[in-house]
């Protein structure tokens, strides 16, 4: 097993600054390696995590991330939960449109991240903020 990754327990990381986004990437990478994702799948899930962590920071005003390993009996995987208590996403359909952005980016964060993972769930409201759960399974 990869050093420094406790597979049994969720790994938490706050997202409050640019450097935290880098830490999220490194954490997700370590867990993805530990559950033996292929190199391409590692790259995909780390990229998705980077996009979502940045969204949490920029649009959610900071938040936290939790990385866990999952096992459905046949395959292992990585599950990442991003949570913030920001203003929520008003129009989800619009937010998932390629190229739509309110933050001056390329507008690929949400829609792109969804294409890079196997499972993608989003709960959002103006009161409770946004919570995104993504899962990537080993092939």
């Amino acid at each position: 097993m990869t050093a420094g990754v406790d597979l049994g327990h969720p790994q938490a990381q706050a997202i409050q600054s640019d450097e935290d986004v880098v830490r999220v990437r490194q954490l997700v990478r370590a867990v993805a390696v530990a559950v033996k994702l292929s190199l391409v799948d590692q790259t995909k899930v780390v990229t998705a995590a980077s996009e979502l962590a940045r969204n949490t920071l920029v649009y959610g005003g900071g938040g936290s991330v939790e990385v866990t390993t999952v096992d459905n009996g046949r395959r292992m995987g990585v599950r990442i939960v991003f949570a913030d208590s920001g203003p929520g996403i008003a129009d989800l359909d619009l937010a998932f449109t390629d190229g739509y952005t309110t933050g001056g980016g390329l507008g690929l964060g949400l829609s792109g991240a969804r294409r890079l993972v196997d499972e993608f769930e989003i709960e959002t409201s103006a009161e409770a903020g946004t919570r995104i759960t993504v899962t990537k399974w080993s092939r």
């Binding site: 640019d18 450097e19 986004v21 880098v22 990437r25 490194q26 990478r29 190199l39 391409v40 590692q42 790259t43 995909k44 780390v46 990229t47 980077s50 996009e51 940045r54 390629d98 980016g105 390329l106 690929l108 964060g109 829609s111 792109g112 991240a113 294409r115 890079l116």
Partner: protein
């Protein structure tokens, strides 16, 4: 904050990104590079991303911006050494890196810049009647 070093080799600026950049570092690199292009008068920029294990939309946008800025400053930018997994991920992400020239490695990148430069000079010589006075 860490800074990405920029090396000058002949007429080319070489940027070899070796660390997992924070967004701030990426923006800083963008500014540094624009200044160095003007200060050195270089006509080529090679950005080596061999060591990068991911390129997300932020870094992708930075690369595009650098390419556009250097174009305005009369320098050709070539991004070299992108890993296969990174390329596959970028395609899936929907990032096309429009307007960026790419090459497999630094050597090919240098060839590309030399060829582009040669083409440009040749074009001026062939088609521009004032070219001979313009080029010493």
């Amino acid at each position: 904050m860490e800074r990405v070093p920029i090396l000058k080799i002949g007429d080319i600026l070489l940027v070899s990104i070796q660390l997992d950049m924070s967004d701030q570092t990426a923006v800083q690199l963008q500014d540094d590079l624009a200044e160095r292009i003007v200060a050195t008068g270089c006509h080529g920029v090679i950005i080596d991303i061999t060591a990068l294990d991911i390129v997300d939309s932020f870094v992708g946008r930075m690369l595009s911006t650098i390419a556009s800025i250097s174009k305005v400053l009369d320098a050709e930018t070539v991004v070299v050494g992108m890993r296969p997994a990174v390329a596959i991920t970028l395609v899936e992400l929907g990032l096309s890196l429009n307007g960026i020239r790419t090459a497999l490695n630094v050597e090919r990148g240098m060839e590309l810049i030399a060829a582009a430069r040669a083409d440009e000079l040749e074009y001026q010589l062939d088609d521009d009647p004032d070219a001979e006075t313009a080029i010493p």
